[in-house]
């Protein structure tokens, strides 16, 4: 590929001609906008960009982008994306999934995509419900969620997407809220820049089946006290005026919320975010109040040495290599004089 300067593009250049059909007020609109803006800021080449999705409201995503897109089957987008990326590593592959698609039927494939560290960006729209199929509870729904399939309230413990990703061995785990455009775009760009599987959990509001489920931390009124925006190298501060922060309770090995200036707490007691620290990332992911947002964990794996490129399929050079393999082992030649051993390579 020649090193052309990135074309001057805007978010609109990445929008397809399809009329967007999500419910009015759905968080997916905001995410779509953020993705389009992020692509524009990255100068992403449309022909090299592929969005792969499963099934669900989230998975309608590819239709609304003017890139290559593959709307596949429920839960299997990570597996399909793996095949795409292995065949053509030069493609920029984004996987779009939801809490049902990605953690219920697709949990296994998500686990292995992260474990294998396939270089894709995986966006999991977590709305804690099944939207497209009309409101059943999902693997991330809180206990007690009433839904058509849990009329008495769900009794299952939910799985935490970020903790699952860390447990699977993901080397990039980040979180954002659908309507917070700037932080979301920043996370998307960081995810794109990371070489390896980048897991992004996006809290997405389902206005029809689970409206306001994240209000406790996502609403403007609660934001300051309930959201912790982590930045590598910066102290873990939150709250009005940034006066609150996180410290480590050594005895209990727990993160505790403290207020600077109270009980003798000083700035130096606050933990500083280190996105290469997996233990810290795990503790941050488990926090319920405040909720940690931003890039929780980013520790790229060492880049493997690139192997020599074999000759292309169809070329005479590859034909010679294939012939060599076919003729490996014990061979014999049948001629007019009968069978004679032929000079094959010993196994």
């Amino acid at each position: 590929m020649s090193a052309l300067p990135p074309p001057t593009v805007t978010a609109k250049d990445y929008a397809s001609d399809q009329e967007v059909r999500w419910c009015p007020g759905c968080g997916d609109y905001a995410i779509l906008k953020a993705v389009q803006r992020a692509l524009a800021e990255l100068g992403a080449r449309r022909e090299r960009t592929v969005f792969v999705s499963g099934i669900g409201c989230s998975s309608r995503f590819p239709y609304y982008l003017a890139t290559y897109g593959f709307h596949t089957i429920h839960g299997r987008a990570p597996a399909i994306a793996t095949g795409i990326k292995l065949v053509n590593p030069a493609l920029d592959v984004w996987v779009v999934t939801g809490d049902g698609d990605g953690l219920s039927i697709g949990g296994n494939h998500l686990l292995h995509l992260l474990r294998r560290n396939i270089d894709v960006q995986l966006l999991l729209f977590n709305n804690e419900i099944y939207g497209l199929t009309k409101g059943q509870y999902s693997p991330t729904s809180r206990p007690g969620t009433r839904s058509p399939s849990s009329p008495e309230g769900s009794t299952e413990r939910p799985v935490s997407p970020a903790l699952f990703a860390l447990g699977a061995g993901a080397r990039f785990v980040a979180r954002a809220i659908d309507v917070q455009q700037k932080p979301l775009i920043e996370v998307l760009k960081r995810a794109h820049a990371h070489r390896g599987a980048s897991f992004v959990e996006i809290y997405q509001n389902c206005i029809v089946y689970n409206d306001g489920v994240f209000a406790a931390f996502a609403d403007k009124a609660n934001a300051a006290e309930a959201q912790l925006h982590v930045v590598h190298g910066q102290p873990l501060r939150f709250g009005a005026g940034g006066r609150r922060g996180l410290a480590l309770d050594r005895k209990g090995l727990r993160l505790v919320a403290v207020t600077v200036g109270e009980d003798g707490v000083t700035d130096s007691d606050l933990l500083v975010h280190d996105e290469t620290n997996r233990v810290l990332a795990t503790m941050l992911a488990a926090l319920e109040r405040p909720v940690a947002l931003g890039v929780l964990y980013c520790e790229p794996a060492p880049v493997a040495a690139t192997a020599a490129t074999p000759p292309p399929f169809g070329s005479p050079e590859l034909a010679a290599l294939i012939e060599g393999r076919l003729r490996r082992g014990e061979l014999w030649t049948v001629g007019d004089a009968g069978a004679t051993p032929a000079g094959g390579q010993p196994r």
Partner: protein
């Protein structure tokens, strides 16, 4: 009849008795030898060496390994018995043989399990030194079969192979345990002598195989030589002569069906000019294909051992979407899991090859036993109207050609293609004439280019295939998916007439493959007559041989027609079969092809169904054919 146990003979080469003159050897057109022993006895290795020696002697051959059911059963038990059978001859060999002529049983359990298959009057070679009371008990013998008349009616060679082997290896400083592990080579040496095989290449093989341990080289070679000398000098073993077969000139190797199939996929991708991507999950009996593919990274093959069967199919679909030949491979239980994914490949019209190495089902069934009961699964095993192309290989060597054909059709018609094999084909081996790649006609698959002006959903007028639009191609960005799409624009469409039309188009595309596959031929026999026997897959060997034997005996009014293409069926099949008064379908399932032919061709086909986890025997096919011809020999 008591069996004499022979005292150790001298192994001094100089005192060797004069070898039996070639002319005093009994000529045989073909012979079947079966090696059997405990799973720790090196039976498979022995069989492979004998196979190589037999190939070098110019015979045609077919082999079949009979692995034990367990990975490592308790030593000496009947479920730890490992066997290897080889049928070889001076004529075309099409099966691994109904019953052995010679049985080598290295322990009592092997004798117990294998004796029933030995031909009446056949030769049985046993290691009498391995028939102590404890060994007999483990094998379930109350009394020694060597002494109680069990072996009456056979030619028995009861030889203390254990003691003779230990004698032979004594000078080479191996332990008793190591020495006994050379018994298989002793037995091999004897069998080499019986069939006049050159043992020099085996000596060279031993030298390479055990190159790190020279004393093992010396011991195994000594055992091999000792067995051979025993044959020469003891004069108790029968001596045979099996002439070379008329094989077409060329360079050969032995290939199992699994190997040949893998080679075919590799060569097929090369002929198509597209990279090969292979994804599968370990499953008996298909895993060998995965192992081979995994070793071909240097050739540009991308192999993924996926986390499960569904991921394997999905990764292959992703690969096809990205411009590679996507291949996924499994056996029955795994193929069943792939149904939904294959449906996606149908709806997205991508080139995907699905290899099913069939085994006995249903459910877990009998993983190491062969069957051909997945035809219905291949033809119909998807929800909705989701037609695919279905092919079947008929033998190990044919698996290469069938695999190349599968890739050709998948890329030409942008469709999933099922390639059916089975456990027998996968594990059996036969001589394979290595093709010269430059002599194979290429079928380059073309990727859609921006300059073509084509739209991603516009169909080729002849094949009805979509163009192959691959991500990375500028100006052709489009969205693909499993939802029904408009025929022309490709946008999601719920329009009723469009769905009707798309359903018909998908069916028409597959039906149209018939124009690319040629007409069905007759394998043997007259073009019209009283009886046509139709088969598919690995029943080819026994059916072909049975028909051939009937023809030789003057029963000429039976034709053998063997199908490679199950969907679509060859265009002329209906008119071809209409020329016979009776059509008999022989298959290893409950009548799946029979029902297909009845439905598609309005044909009153009758069937013979064997679902026993065993291949058909030539004998049973002959009997069935005669029965349907109206009896009378």
């Amino acid at each position: 009849m008591a069996c004499e146990v022979f005292a150790p003979m001298t192994t001094d080469l100089a005192l060797r008795a004069s070898p039996a003159a070639r002319s005093s050897r009994r000529p045989l057109e073909s012979a079947v030898v079966r090696f059997a022993g405990d799973s720790g006895d090196g039976i498979q290795l022995t069989g492979l060496r004998f196979t190589a020696a037999t190939a070098l002697a110019g015979n045609d051959l077919a082999t079949f390994p009979d692995f034990p059911a367990e990975i490592r059963a308790p030593a000496g038990t009947t479920y730890g018995v490992s066997a290897f059978q080889i049928n070889f001859g001076a004529r075309a060999i099409k099966t691994s043989g109904d019953r052995p002529d010679v049985l080598v049983a290295l322990n009592p359990a092997a004798l117990k399990v294998e004796l029933p298959v030995l031909k009446a009057g056949g030769v049985v070679i046993v290691d009498s030194g391995a028939f102590a009371e404890r060994d007999l008990k483990r094998a379930g013998y109350e009394r020694s079969p060597l002494a109680d008349g069990t072996l009456d009616g056979y030619q028995v060679l009861a030889i203390d192979i254990s003691r003779l082997t230990l004698e032979a290896v004594k000078p080479h400083g191996v332990s008793q345990h190591e020495g006994l592990r050379c018994r298989n080579f002793w037995a091999l040496g004897l069998v080499y002598w019986m069939f006049d095989r050159d043992r020099e290449p085996t000596r060279a093989w031993i030298a390479r195989r055990f190159a790190d341990e020279p004393r093992l080289v010396a011991a195994n070679t000594a055992a091999l030589d000792a067995g051979h000398i025993f044959g020469e000098s003891s004069e108790i073993a029968p001596a045979y002569r099996v002439e070379p077969a008329p094989l077409a000139p060329g360079q050969y190797r032995v290939a199992t069906g699994g190997e040949a199939l893998a080679f075919g996929l590799l060569v097929g991708a090369h002929l198509a000019g597209r990279p090969l991507f292979f994804a599968s999950y370990p499953i008996t009996p298909a895993s060998p294909i995965l192992h081979l593919m995994s070793a071909w990274r240097a050739l540009g093959v991308t192999t993924l051992q996926a986390e499960d069967e569904i991921a394997a199919a999905c990764a292959a679909i992703g690969a096809a979407y990205a411009g590679a030949i996507g291949v996924t491979s499994s056996s029955g239980p795994g193929i069943a899991l792939k149904s939904e994914a294959i449906g996606l490949a149908v709806a997205s019209e991508l080139p995907l090859v699905i290899v099913d190495t069939q085994r006995a089902g249903p459910s877990t069934g009998m993983p190491t036993k062969t069957e051909q009961s997945d035809l219905n699964l291949a033809l119909f095993g998807r929800h909705g109207e989701a037609p695919v192309v279905v092919l079947a290989a008929r033998s190990p060597a044919d698996a290469f050609d069938a695999a190349v054909e599968a890739v050709r059709l998948a890329t030409r018609f942008m469709t999933p293609v099922y390639l059916l094999s089975d456990g027998y084909i996968a594990n059996a081996a036969q001589p394979w004439k290595i093709p010269d790649l430059s002599s194979l006609p290429p079928f380059p698959a073309r990727l859609c280019q921006p300059a073509d002006g084509a739209r991603p959903f516009a169909r080729d007028g002849e094949t009805l295939a979509r163009p192959w639009v691959v991500p990375g191609t500028p100006g052709l960005e489009y969205r693909l998916g499993g939802l029904e799409k408009d025929e022309l624009s490709g946008a999601i469409s719920y329009d009723p007439a469009n769905h009707q039309r798309m359903t018909e188009l998908r069916a028409a595309k597959i039906a149209g493959v018939a124009a690319a596959i040629g007409e069905q031929g007759i394998d043997a026999g007259p073009p019209t007559g009283r009886l046509a026997v139709v088969g598919w897959g690995s029943t080819w060997g026994p059916i072909s041989r049975a028909v051939s034997l009937l023809h030789q005996r003057g029963v000429g009014d039976v034709a053998h027609i063997h199908l490679r293409h199950l969907c679509p069926l060859p265009r002329n099949l209906g008119s071809l079969l209409a020329g016979y008064a009776k059509v008999l379908v022989i298959e290893m399932n409950s009548g799946q092809l029979q029902r297909l032919l009845r439905a598609e061709l309005l044909l009153q086909a009758v069937g013979y169904h064997k679902v026993a986890g065993q291949p058909l025997t030539i004998e049973e096919v002959e009997a069935v054919l005669l029965q349907h011809l109206g009896g009378g020999r």
